[in-house]
């Protein structure tokens, strides 16, 4: 095809069931060979739908994640920490833009995505519905939340959809700086005065439950999940990612003699699997559905930003009339 790869998201497959079965076979074989799918390739409607949902939520999470951290830029202790935090927040917003661009190649416009977020229709990572009360919270977010994000993103970077993988490649590179500066702030408090240690312990106590929610409830074994894994949309089960997170990071927390608010948390030395108290999934779903400590504030801040940025967008736009096309890379 020549020209712009416009993808109609409401497309209906025109052809016989036999044609579709054949296309599906080619599609699955390509993924099985480790090749990437590009925006102009045929793809099953469910593949497109799941990817839009996933990449869009990921983009929203980057933008929403910058809010609790952005709050602390003015109060960061010292110039070096302030520089690091400004750079991190700028990266996160940049990641949001990279991901919106990747999702856009699947045929949903950036405006539609932002509208679905501020209307509450589409979700973002639940952890950003909790408040950052002290500087120690920023250390814990920069260390643990970014660590969790890296586990998820490194896996997804090996997925099957080309534009998403390319965006993640760059994102992972920047996230490793985020994790390192978060760990640095964490260790600074953790090896500091009794008051600093107390502050950090308090932040750990509050962030541990949402961190255990971070990867979501254990997947139900379903045909749907199995298919998404075969299509390399979902690269690991939620529980496997949670186990990897605990295994890598709990020892780093215990090393500095901090505790985590779960008496059952312990590695089974025989199986190598970590035992833990089942997280409160009722709370998880309650907060996802809008009833968390910061949901209303986060959405209100996004609306505020859109409203107050509108005159700037309009002023710039009035210089040249534009017609939108879906990008294809």
């Amino acid at each position: 095809m020549y020209g712009s790869a416009f993808i109609d998201k409401d497309e209906k497959f025109v052809g016989t069931a036999e044609d579709e079965a054949q296309l599906l076979e080619v599609f699955e074989a390509r993924i099985a060979r480790g090749e990437k799918i590009e925006p102009d390739d045929w793809m099953p409607a469910d593949y497109r739908k799941q990817l839009i949902r996933m990449i869009e939520q990921h983009a929203h999470s980057e933008i929403m994640g910058a809010l609790p951290e952005g709050t602390w830029i003015t109060r960061a202790p010292g110039f070096r920490r302030k520089l690091a935090l400004i750079a991190k927040v700028q990266d996160e917003v940049g990641h949001g833009h990279l991901l919106y661009a990747a999702a856009e190649t699947l045929g949903k416009s950036r405006e539609d995505m932002v509208n679905d977020m501020i209307s509450g229709k589409s979700k973002y990572s639940n952890i950003f519905n909790y408040p950052a009360k002290s500087w120690a919270d920023i250390a814990v977010i920069g260390f643990l939340v970014d660590a969790g994000a890296i586990i998820n993103q490194l896996l997804n970077a090996k997925g099957s959809y080309g534009p998403y993988c390319r965006a993640l490649e760059r994102i992972c590179y920047e996230e490793s700086f985020h994790l390192k500066q978060g760990y640095d702030a964490f260790v600074a408090l953790g090896t500091g005065t009794p008051m600093q240690r107390e502050m950090l312990q308090d932040a750990l106590n509050r962030w541990w439950p949402p961190m255990m929610h971070f990867f979501g409830p254990s997947d139900k074994l379903s045909v749907h999940t199995e298919r998404l894994m075969r299509w390399k949309v979902k690269m690991a089960s939620n529980e496997d990612m949670r186990q990897e997170f605990i295994d890598q990071y709990v020892p780093k927390i215990w090393e500095l003699d901090f505790t985590l608010p779960d008496p059952k948390l312990k590695k089974n030395e025989e199986t190598g699997v970590w035992d833990y108290t089942e997280p409160d999934w009722d709370e998880f779903f309650r907060v996802i559905n809008g009833d968390g400590p910061c949901n209303a504030e986060r959405i209100a801040v996004r609306k505020y930003a859109e409203q107050h940025g509108r005159w700037v967008r309009e002023a710039l736009m009035s210089r040249t009339p534009v017609a939108h096309v879906t990008p294809f890379a």
Binding site: S119, R319, A329
Partner: protein, 124 residues
């Protein structure tokens, strides 16, 4: 009533924004493809897309998005709608003969003929 612990957000008129409806179509402008050059003499490489109303703003946003971290000496932007492409499903059109030695320097081993010629001359 939102009671934020963030002093800046406390000062902002969040309630005033509650009436904000939705972004209009194209309010976030159009996509531009960005090409990044990290060193004089190197090629510009495609690195991703950004949204902007015109090429001038696209360059400014591309500088922030793709030039803030790694070494950058130059950036190109082009409207995504001005890029033309084949479809990936037609990739078989690039297939030609499997044996392409005739296009490579290594496909022309003249030395063995010269050696043969020279050795036959010696035996004459």
């Amino acid at each position: 009533m939102i009671n934020s612990i963030d002093p800046r957000i406390k000062r902002a008129d969040l309630e005033g924004a509650s009436g904000f409806g939705a972004l209009a179509e194209n309010e976030n402008w159009i996509p531009f493809a960005v090409f990044h050059q990290d060193k004089r003499g190197e090629r510009h490489e495609f690195v991703g897309t950004i949204h902007a109303p015109d090429p001038e703003m696209a360059l400014l946003f591309a500088k922030e998005q793709y030039g803030r971290r790694k070494k950058t000496v130059n950036i190109w932007v082009v409207r995504s709608s001005d890029i033309f492409t084949f479809a990936h499903e037609d990739e078989d059109m690039f297939e030609t003969v499997p044996e392409k030695k005739y296009r490579e320097a290594s496909g022309y081993p003249v030395r063995k003929y010269i050696n043969k010629y020279l050795s036959e001359k010696d035996h004459e």
